[in-house]
């Protein structure tokens, strides 16, 4: 049981989804407990694997499906799961978010997608299977298959929302398919030049044959890179994201928003560091020179667009696009601290986005709207929800001791020591924008000011609302507890940031990244 822990991570949700599809047809009440239990089992597998990774001498767990062990067969004959510290940390984020959202899902799924519970949970669990598999796999083609699993379930989950969700999904299908196809094309070119699909194997061949100058490999790098950038909604390719996440059912957006973009950033880091290698990615391509400037444009545009929104979920969607810019920038400033920041920000951004979307779901349920105008007096009506929501918000801004502060700290340090001033300045700028965003929200909730600026109350503390409208009226416990849990995680990850950074440093130390100016 213990030695197969890494396989159990996927087995639990896979079998859970089949059980939901078949058993859920007869009795739809079974789906929720099946989903929560399989997520709990999967989380156990993840924690056990983390323990094994830390305990092992090389800090990796290699698991080859089908018994094609490295002792008897050449590497690449079977499909390998290659969990190093980076992979298992992101997997744990996926499983943790999945578990919390599974608990949260009970009431919203019943209300928003009636008679479709069994289908919803089938797709939900397969989504987790795909995302967790992406983080663990050590095979470039298997990665593509798992991206497809995650993408297809995502399309289904989003399209179950309102009527407008179907149109948004169609956009997502087109762009997502283009991204995945470009990635697949790139993998094909890699195979032509290296003759293997195993990530470790690819890297070994690239180093041994000196493929850094090969035109085919250069094109493969561009194709894989752009494919992933489309999938992660990096700025010019972000068009699918806001509509998809706004119109999706509450549970879908709470699951996809924290995970999908972040997992794709993990894929980029994996490709850059482990597959192509530091020398190939940073020294023999032009991406180091170009990407930070694209990141600058991306963050500014996304932040300004977030500022223009009058609806919480839509604003959060643009914040995600801006955050994607942070993390991509952290990779391409080519610096040890930047990469620590990037990886840590993947973790903390997932936690805080989860917090915000769970909060937005609760607000939508109780206040019936997520438009800024409908928020007045919410602090007295639902104090716990708003506390949880704003812990996430403060983390996005980067206030200590939330985790967002520490990850942003490393990103800014990276920008400073590598003397990428443009990246540093834009980080500061976007922090300012986020301060404005969230404090404007607080103002809306606490003060009696309407959208057009006219004063609705009669002075301080008077919101212009009746007693009825400000009476304590919290959301249901099955939704509130996951939100508070997520808020606690944001704080705990922030407080124990040093332990996580130590783990990330163990992972990064083998790559010889520059700790100062790179060129």
């Amino acid at each position: 049981m213990m030695e197969n822990a890494i396989a159990w991570i996927l087995i639990f949700p896979l079998f859970g989804s089949v059980a939901c599809a078949i058993l859920g047809m007869g009795n739809k009440k079974l789906c929720y407990p099946i989903a929560v239990l399989s997520m709990a089992g999967s989380l156990w597998g993840g924690i056990e694997t983390l323990r094994q990774v830390i305990a092992s001498e090389v800090h990796t767990v290699s698991y080859i499906f089908g018994g094609w062990t490295l002792d008897n067969y050449p590497r690449g004959v079977g499909i390998e799961f290659h969990a190093d510290i980076l992979g298992i940390l992101i997997t744990l984020v996926v499983l943790g978010v999945g578990f919390i959202v599974a608990i949260y899902s009970k009431l919203p799924v019943q209300d928003e997608t009636p008679n479709k519970e069994s289908l919803f949970y089938t797709l939900f669990l397969l989504q987790i299977t795909g995302l967790a598999g992406i983080c663990l796999t050590g095979d470039a083609f298997n990665l593509y298959v798992l991206i497809e699993v995650a993408a297809l379930t995502g399309y289904g989950l989003i399209a179950m929302g309102s009527k407008r969700a179907e149109a948004a999904t169609f956009n997502y299908v087109i762009l997502g398919t283009i991204g995945a196809s470009l990635y697949l094309l790139g993998v094909g070119y890699i195979y032509i030049k290296t003759g293997t699909l195993n990530m470790v194997g690819i890297h070994d061949v690239i180093v041994a044959n000196g493929l850094a100058d090969s035109a085919t490999m250069q094109v493969a790098f561009v194709l894989v890179g752009i494919g992933i950038l489309i999938k992660m909604a990096f700025f010019p390719f972000h068009a699918w994201l806001p509509n998809a996440y706004c119109n999706a059912p509450t549970v879908t957006s709470s699951l996809l928003a924290p995970l999908v973009t972040k997992v794709m950033i993990y894929v980029m880091i994996r490709m850059v560091l482990s597959v192509f290698g530091v020398e190939f990615s940073f020294e023999s391509t032009l991406w180091v020179d170009v990407m930070p400037w694209l990141v600058v444009v991306a963050i500014i545009c996304a932040a300004v667009m977030a500022l223009a929104q009058r609806e919480i979920k839509r604003m959060l969607a643009y914040l995600i696009v801006a955050e994607v810019g942070y993390m991509v920038g952290g990779v391409w400033i080519y610096n040890y601290y930047g990469l620590i920041g990037s990886i840590f920000h993947v973790i903390s951004d997932a936690c805080m986005t989860l917090c915000l979307f769970l909060g937005a779901g609760l607000i939508l349920r109780k206040a019936k709207t997520t438009h800024f105008d409908g928020l007045r007096g919410l602090f007295s009506k639902m104090p716990l929800t708003m506390t949880g929501f704003f812990i996430g918000g403060f983390s996005i801004i980067g206030l200590p001791p939330t985790c967002g502060f520490f990850s942003k700290w490393y990103l800014i340090t990276g920008g400073m020591v590598s003397q990428r001033w443009e990246y540093m300045v834009v980080l500061m700028f976007s922090t300012m924008v986020m301060v404005v965003l969230f404090f404007r929200l607080i103002e809306r909730i606490h003060l009696a000011v309407s959208e057009s600026g006219e004063n609705l109350g009669h002075g301080h503390g008077d919101l212009g609302l009746t007693k009825e409208q400000t009476r304590f009226d919290e959301g249901p416990l099955s939704m509130l507890i996951p939100l508070l849990l997520a808020a606690t995680v944001v704080l705990v990850v922030g407080i124990y940031n040093q332990d996580i950074v130590n783990l990330i440093e163990i992972f990064l130390d083998e790559f010889n990244l520059p700790k100062g100016v790179s060129h």
Binding site: N4, A7, I11, L14, F15, V18, A21, I22, M25, I64, F65, G66, G67, Y73, P74, R75, G76, V77, G78, I79, N115, K116, L119, F120, T122, L123, L126, T129, G133, F141, N142, V145, L146, E148, V149, L152, T153, Y155, G156, A159, M160, E166, L182, L185, Y191, I192, K193, T194, G195, T196, N198, G201, V205, N209, A215, T216, M217, Q218, V219, A220
Partner: protein, 249 residues
């Protein structure tokens, strides 16, 4: 707009052509893909490892069986996602659409199909079961089987086909196919190997470890076949009637 979308197409095309200048020679023995230890192992040892004469099937269902399991899952997801989007949740009104006709099924068409369907289905079983030695396998067999039901739906109407293949069975069989595939993997894990290590099945069946792989491959192919059959038909039934499962095209 058309001109604008032409630009990325052109850029990708130029990139692909540029990459081709560095390709290894066509069919060359020195190409990395032919030289790599992985392909040499497949060519030299497939028969030794698995007793399966068809190398492609062995790579698909055993060496890279984990990929194929998720390909099956992808097919299953496609069916579930389309059902989730189109499933009639009581909102849509039942209106007759202009392409629905009330004409009786055509005599010549139905009688031809009556003759064809059994042949197609037997051929589907053949393709499924002979995947080890000849081109074929679960996906192809499943597609043929699913097509036979779609043919019935096309020549009579969907309701006639649904009598033979009730709609709820598509979800059950689709799930069962994935369950069969992953279940064989799980069983071999319980017997002491890694997930999907079919050779461990030799512990409970009285065959050699290699033959255990051979037979398990047939098992997983049947799982694939079940899922593909069910989902093919489910997709047709959903898409042709916008999820109402009535009459159809």
């Amino acid at each position: 707009m058309k001109l604008l979308s032409f630009i990325p197409v052109l850029v990708v095309g130029v990139l692909l052509l540029y990459a081709a200048k560095d390709f290894p020679e066509w069919g060359s023995l020195d190409a990395p893909a032919s030289k790599s230890p992985v392909s040499s192992h497949f060519i030299a040892n497939t028969g030794v490892d698995t007793e399966v004469p068809n190398m492609v099937t062995a790579v698909l269902a055993d060496y890279r069986g984990f990929d194929t399991m998720f390909e099956t899952v992808v097919v299953f997801i496609a069916g579930m996602a389309v059902l989730a989007i189109l499933k009639n949740s009581g909102r849509k009104k039942l209106v007759k659409r202009e392409f629905e006709v009330d004409a009786e099924p055509d005599l010549i068409v139905t009688n031809t199909v009556r003759l064809l369907v059994p042949v197609i289905q037997i051929f589907a079983f053949y393709v499924l079961a002979h995947g080890h030695v000849s081109p074929g396998g679960g996906f192809q067999g499943g597609v043929l089987m699913g097509a036979s039901f779609i043919l019935v739906a096309l020549s009579w109407d969907l309701e006639t086909a649904l009598i033979r293949f009730p709609f709820n069975w598509t979800t059950i069989l689709g799930g069962l196919g994935v369950f069969l595939y992953a279940g064989i993997g799980l069983l071999s894990m319980f017997l002491g190997g890694e997930f999907l290590d079919y050779s461990e099945l030799a512990n409970i069946f009285t065959v050699s470890r290699e033959m255990a792989r051979y037979h398990a491959m047939l098992g997983v192919e049947i799982g694939v076949g079940l899922t593909v059959t069910a989902i093919m038909f489910s997709l047709y039934a959903n898409l042709s009637t916008e999820g109402r499962h009535q009459r159809g095209l």
